[in-house]
Symmetry: C2
Subunit: 515 residues, 2 copies
């Protein structure tokens, strides 16, 4: 066997059995090795942003890493934006980047570049196999790092390490150490703060605290003491729907965000960093809480969130389940001309049990998060790192991770164009995804931000950079061009019909909503 | 005025008057400033790979930088692959990357990342404006670096530097110093080597030596002494066609490349690095010349190539113009089922005077370089860094650079899918581009490389990663979905008709060739 075989076997021994890939010549030995492993499922993306975004969605939904396979520095570069999102969402990924044979790099061939420099900004761990015998131990380290930090571990695979022979040896599963426990003193200190404070308070949940059972405990603690439960501004994943505590999103726009958190004397972070402004503005604060708000961290993302929650709940004698539940949604289905809010209302009403909503609708889906809390139970995933082009690939990855669940991808047209190639992989893999395109034909968020600058007259240059018109995109043709069935509508009635029929079938279907 | 205005004025004072852009919120003040500058032409790309690839094509054809505008680390990441190609091709670019306000970075907002680490692998110069007053001097340094090194200069623009006020001051043009002259001793040494050596010899031309007047002089030197003129394996730009010396490409495949250079006792590099294998293979050499071949550099890319060529020509009394000319092509137009070679024959015959061929046909266009040498005079551009997804954006940039010339983009389907969004910008800007898609529905180069490993049976996993079928892409729909007229054919006659009619009109037109 060769180094590439050892890599495959190490991955499989560690339950890494999906590989999202776009290989090149330097990865051919690895491709040949993957071909000898029927237990591995290789899924081609026609661009590396699809590969990394799918691994992100897969990691968020399974909690375990998929492998990715990318070709040298430029291939990795193409995948970086969605690795950035994965890093912010806390999705584990074993990110394999093929490189030239080690002896060849000194000649600086055209595709050579500094892969480590490209990888570090998005990776919690970066390693390079120094030879064939080093591959299995490095792959184990990568698996360990991906699990332990729930983030991106990048393993650089020189071609000669892949093709060199190794002694056959049994691969074994890495022992994933448990997350570090939160020390009792910290839990006691937070319990004390919760008992003593005398104003409004909130908790911000992410990671294990944003899905059950963690969310139930966190909500129980908050409600027992009259507090509110927030998600991050752009949460990576949060459980929602009837029967689940309706977490509030901290608003994106800075004035609304500071207003939501105004008057709080205590904010407890559970798996989340302190909420800060997505962007800075002249004369506005970076921090969203007021200076006098005490911000305490119960557990970081790398710690054992569930243990900390259970211990804190015991301390303050909180109920095991939160009392606050969402009322079922009972809005009338809207009629007439389709609007972005009407789309959200229809989807919140019609979405099936256990759906996974992958929301990159940006400005257009702004009401869906709140409305969907009153719909069927579901998971809600967003572009956690703010790097657009996450939605379509993330939906693909979620579909591979959870083949028995319906995926609904709310997709702004501008960000959808970043990684539209993912539609093709959905078609090839029969991914069960309903893609809803909000075709407003503009970068609406930029228009809002421009207006916030006080600029009301848009000239030729700014107009060229904020409009997606001239010519209009035709998403039905784009989808069909990649083998995905699609339809267009601009009425609520037809939209509801299309959603209904697409939910009754399996496989990808795209609805272009002209709004 | 603010820092963003100062940046615009510095760019315009230095003849940087095209900005390929995809901005985000942190760049809104710069967008507003661009909107106040009618002399600047802002061109939107729906993905940053289009932005950087267009700037690459523009820089190769004009020899001066366009500006790019990208949004924070992830936006830059999306543009890196084509910046890598620009770096290898020697295309000047002033690459502007917006970042968070400097005071905001300490809070690690979701879109924050290490932009410098991402930028360095593709940039010869990286700078960050430390404040509003620093913008104009930093922009001047970026312009200078882009010109002086003919490469990518990355200027990081914090939002608060853009929005902060500056004293109005007249912007002025930077003095671009002449390229360093090659010392006379080196020219004498090479002249001596050329006179004394007694076997086969060649020159490898790139940069100013691959276009006229440099190519004429280089070819004159080679022919005076019985040598051959080569381009790089994947040249960034080379002048070709009747009346121009027919430079030979060093073959891509390693055995053919070493055979082409076998028996050479001298190879003189003029603006090009020593040719090396594109990839390494077990048991094969990295260097393409034999160990006994003397390799001498007349001038590096950063030196004054034209002066060195003129001085060397004088030393060896070479004729001013090369004697060898291509015979006009006079092949019969092929008939029947369309093949990749038939496409090359038709295009070589029909292409108009002064066309710009942007060739990312990979395996499918392998004969075109040679055939086109006997067609109308033209420039031939390839994916110099080997990072696929260069063709469509490069063709767009060439069209913006040279609005009076016809651009012909030879495009493999697999690499075309990387940056297909560029078609939309072609439609919006009425870019005069004929896009020819080689729809072989596979990564043919990978099939060849796999066969070279001795693997002849392709299983499920390798098959999934090398085939673009299941489902087939429909490029006519993809093009029309982005507003580009298109047609499909699988016969030579229809292809020739479509080429003829598309050459008689202006604006983008795509032909999907099913081969």
């Amino acid at each position: 066997m060769n180094g590439a075989d050892a890599l495959c076997e190490t991955l499989l021994a560690n339950d890494v059995n999906v590989c999202f890939a776009n290989p090149g010549t330097s990865e051919m030995h690895f491709v040949a090795a993957l071909d000898r492993q029927p237990a591995m499922r290789c899924i081609l993306g026609l661009f590396e942003g699809v590969v990394s975004g799918a691994a992100d969605g897969y990691g968020r939904m399974t909690g375990k890493p998929a492998a990715t396979l990318m070709h040298t520095g430029p291939g990795l570069a193409n995948g970086l934006a969605n690795l950035h999102n994965a890093r912010r969402a806390g999705a584990p990924i074993v990110n394999i980047v093929g490189d030239h044979a080690s002896f060849h790099l000194q000649f600086d061939p055209p595709l050579a570049s500094d892969i480590e420099s490209l990888a570090r900004p998005v990776s919690r761990w970066v390693g390079r196999a120094s030879g064939s015998a080093d591959i299995a131990p490095m792959a184990e380290k990568a698996v360990l790092a991906a699990h332990a930090t729930s983030s991106v571990a990048t393993l650089i695979l020189p071609a000669d390490a892949a093709w060199g022979g190794v002694e056959p040896a049994a691969s074994h599963a890495v022992v994933i150490p448990p997350r570090p426990q939160v020390p009792p003193e910290r839990i006691r200190a937070i319990a004390t703060a919760l008992r003593l404070h005398c104003g409004r308070f909130g908790v911000v949940v992410a990671g294990d605290a944003a899905v059950n059972p963690g969310l139930e405990i966190a909500a129980g603690i908050a409600l027992a003491l009259g507090g509110e439960v927030f998600s991050e501004v752009i949460p990576g994943r949060v459980a929602r729907g009837r029967g689940t505590h309706p977490v509030r999103r901290i608003p994106y726009f800075i004035d609304q965000a500071t207003a939501s958190l105004a008057g709080f004397d205590l904010l407890v972070l559970i798996g989340a960093p302190e909420p800060v402004a997505f962007f800075a503005y002249p004369g506005k604060p970076s921090r969203l809480v007021q200076p006098r708000t005490e911000v305490l961290t119960l557990a970081t993302r790398d710690e054992d969130i569930l243990q900390a929650l259970a211990a804190l709940a015991e301390h303050i004698e909180a109920p095991k389940r939160s009392a606050l539940r969402s009322d079922p949604i009972a809005l009338e289905l809207p009629t007439g001309a389709l609007t972005d809010d009407a789309i959200s209302i229809v989807l919140a009403q019609l979405m099936p049990e256990n759906a996974i909503l992958c929301d990159e609708g940006i400005t257009s889906s702004r009401r869906l998060f709140e409305l969907a809390a009153r719909g069927s139970p579901h998971d809600y995933l967003m572009t956690a790192g703010g790097a657009i082009g996450n939605g379509i690939p993330m939906a693909l990855g979620a579909a591979i991770a959870c083949p028995d669940r319906k995926i609904i991808n709310l997709q702004a047209d501008g960000s959808g164009m970043y990684t539209l190639q993912g539609l093709w992989t959905m078609a090839r893999e029969s991914a069960d995804v309903l893609i809803v395109i909000f075709a407003n034909r503009r970068y609406a968020i930029l228009e809002i931000e421009m207006a916030n600058l006080g600029v009301n007259e848009i000239g030729r240059n700014a107009g060229a950079m904020m409009s997606l018109g001239n010519p209009d995109l035709d998403w039905v043709m784009l989808a069909r061009g990649m083998g995905v069935e699609a339809a267009r509508t601009d009425t609520c009635e037809r939209f509801a019909d299309l959603v209904g029929s697409s939910l009754r079938r399996r496989g990808p279907f795209l609805i272009e909503c002209v709004i």
